[in-house]
């Protein structure tokens, strides 16, 4: 009785823990920024558990895109002019050679000069695409767990785990396929195109077409399978979430007398805080993927357009081998662009799936 009477004199203030304050550490948000370079971090902006300035990031991304396109076009103009001049010189040489055989040798020499010019450029394109693919793969491994953890904490415990398993497995398969099969196929296509420019024959042309077809089928097929797999795995598990969350809320509020409703409301608040983290991290992830792919994608787009334009120009000069070579190289460049684009879109989808993992 005495203790009870004295108890009010020994009270102290109790504060509820702000759920958002520690969520940055809980969800390891910093690991999403670790895989990014300084420039990409600058574009993506600051990520916190409370908010993320997606609009600002989009604006910075747009500005960077404009800057990169301007730089790339400026840098490529010199290359384009030398390639065009080479085309005209080749046409001039071929027009002057009356003898078919000497003309063929002249064409081979022109093709070799063009190939020497293109090889450095293609090497750089392939290297940058490969690097971007590896970086996307690494980034997916660092960023997706964060977003899916936040999704799980925001009430999608069942679907987030299932979807993360599905997404990481499918993304791994896609990236491995891209790095081990599709890129070598693009290389093989380039090699066949170069050889075909030297010794034009139907078998080499057919082999090059086959390599391109297989690469296209693999890319399209894996993209379709990936989308379908994620869709199916999501459809199965997403319905479970809403039911589970509702059941838990009802259980808490009915099982615990008096304080049950309060605890249930508090749990809803924690869920909504985790939902904010999930949205912020997801948006940050989407912008980061764009920032990673921006440089290689701009380079590939500008170079592909250039190669296409010069190959159209080469059709006008009487040098069949050269136009074949240029059109083959432009095709290879377009294939690389498709490969990088589809990998980025798949990662985009993965982030979107994580962001929409729960609809309570």
């Amino acid at each position: 009785m005495l203790v009870l009477l004295l108890a009010p004199f020994f009270t102290c203030r109790a504060y509820a823990l702000e759920p958002k304050d520690e969520s940055a550490d809980v969800f390891h948000l910093e690991s999403m920024c670790d895989g990014l370079s300084g420039e990409e971090r600058e574009i993506s902006g600051e990520l916190s558990a409370e908010s993320y300035d997606a609009e600002g990031a989009m604006r910075r991304l747009g500005e960077e895109l404009k800057k990169r396109v301007r730089e790339e076009v400026h840098g490529t103009l010199r290359f384009a002019s030398s390639l065009t001049a080479l085309c005209f010189l080749g046409g001039f040489a071929c027009a002057l050679c009356e003898d078919e055989t000497i003309r063929a040798f002249s064409e081979i020499c022109v093709c070799c000069a063009a190939a020497a010019l293109l090889t450095g450029s293609m090497d750089s394109l392939i290297r940058q695409t490969m690097e971007a693919l590896y970086r996307l793969s690494d980034y997916s491994k660092a960023a997706l767990p964060v977003v899916f953890t936040a999704a799980a904490a925001s009430g999608a415990a069942a679907s987030a785990a299932a979807r993360y398993a599905a997404v990481s497995f499918a993304l791994d398969v896609l990236m491995s396929l891209a790095q081990r099969f599709i890129l070598p196929l693009v290389n093989a296509y380039l090699a066949l195109t170069l050889t075909g420019a030297l010794f034009p024959n139907s078998m080499l042309k057919a082999a090059a077409r086959f390599a391109r077809w297989v690469a296209g089928i693999l890319l399209t097929g894996t993209s379709l399978v990936f989308t379908a797999y994620i869709g199916v795995s999501g459809a199965i598990s997403s319905a479970v979430n809403a039911a589970a969350v509702k059941a838990t809320k009802t259980l808490i509020s009915t099982a615990l007398p008096v304080v049950g409703g309060m605890i249930s409301d508090a749990s809803a608040m924690v869920l909504s805080a985790a939902g904010v983290v999930r949205s912020c991290a997801g948006a940050f992830g989407l912008i980061s993927v764009c920032a990673i792919c921006l440089g290689p994608f701009v380079l590939l787009s500008v170079k592909t357009l250039l190669f296409k334009a010069v190959s159209v120009l080469a059709e006008a000069v009487p040098c069949g081998r050269l136009s074949g070579l240029l059109s083959g190289v432009s095709e290879a460049s377009a294939m690389l662009m498709g490969l990088l684009g589809s990998c980025a879109v798949m990662l985009f989808l993965s982030f979107s799936v994580a962001m929409k993992a729960v609809t309570v």
Partner: protein, 128 residues
């Protein structure tokens, strides 16, 4: 335009004179056509300065790959020389000599292009 007119006039005059000379002095006829050919080529050489400037600019823009232009220019030279050489031999009713000149031109072009072929094959192999 002027040059083309002059060259055409000189060629027609030389052809007519050669026809007149051919029956009694075939050697003179051949010498006249050779001389006219040399004159036409020499007079058109001054137009080559523009082409040389163009080639120079292409060489500059190619930068480190400028040496790849050398075989193209050599093939061009071989084609022009063997074409006129073979034509002159045929004019002198020496078809076999003309064919020999053409074959020599072909072999020279092949010899010039062979390193380029090897370079391209190596480039293709580097992608595999």
């Amino acid at each position: 335009m002027e040059l083309v007119l002059q060259c055409t006039a000189a060629a027609i005059f030389s052809a007519l004179t050669s026809l007149l000379l051919k029956r009694h002095h075939p050697e003179l006829s051949f010498s006249l056509s050779t001389l006219t050919l040399a004159l036409i080529l020499l007079s058109s050489l001054r137009l080559l300065t523009g082409a040389a400037d163009f080639v120079r600019s292409v060489r500059t823009s190619l930068g480190a790959n400028a040496e790849q232009l050398q075989p193209v220019l050599k093939c061009l030279g071989i084609a022009v020389v063997s074409r006129f050489g073979a034509g002159l031999c045929r004019d002198a009713s020496q078809s076999a000599l003309g064919a020999a000149v053409e074959t020599a031109g072909l072999l020279c072009a092949a010899a010039v292009a062979m390193p380029s072929v090897l370079t391209m094959v190596n480039m293709a192999a580097s992608f595999l």
